[in-house]
Symmetry: C2
Subunit: 105 residues, 2 copies
């Protein structure tokens, strides 16, 4: 997972309302309309958020009857987490190396 792939994921996660949606979906799949019943925003706003989340690969949709039901993808979070951890570790490693050189060891 490259860094440029990660940006839309983080952008998607950088919004309170989308976290509310994700949290709601974390308790069971739901449609945009169903979510609109629980959250203090309109269905259309939620639909937009779901599009962003889907684009980022954080949710997927399944047609069931006449409704579009959304499911959260925890695996994508875990992958993102691994990428983050690797990047952070790499920075620390490189900066530690620089510090060592600077101290003349």
């Amino acid at each position: 997972m490259t860094a440029s792939t990660l940006v839309p994921v983080f952008a998607a996660l950088g919004d309170e309302t989308r976290w509310s949606i994700l949290a709601a979906l974390g308790e069971g799949d739901a449609s945009a309309s169903a979510l609109a019943g629980r959250l203090p925003v309109t269905r259309q706003a939620i639909a937009k958020h779901l599009a962003v989340l889907q684009e980022a690969g954080l949710v997927e949709s399944v047609r069931v009857g006449r409704e579009l039901r959304y499911r959260v993808l925890g695996s994508q979070l875990s992958e993102t987490a691994r990428s983050l951890d690797r990047i952070g570790a790499e920075w620390d490693r490189r900066l530690a190396a620089i510090k060592r050189i600077a101290e003349g060891l």
Copy 2:
């Protein structure tokens, strides 16, 4: 690390320019002016980004001579990664349980 604490971190990470800054800092500490020499944006824009990153706990600043040098904090990335992983795993766990119930097992 609570979910609401995470939002500003993700919002900070959801921008290409800030990743460029973080990547540059990952190769060694630098001031806003130094970064402006390497990136295609003005020093003032970089200063704003650094403020956002600092607010999110992703960088820290140290005065050295007459310049303000910034250092990337890989540890914050690692902590964030751990939180993400926990949350994703929790969603998967709960949804798997729901699925099991739905299947009548």
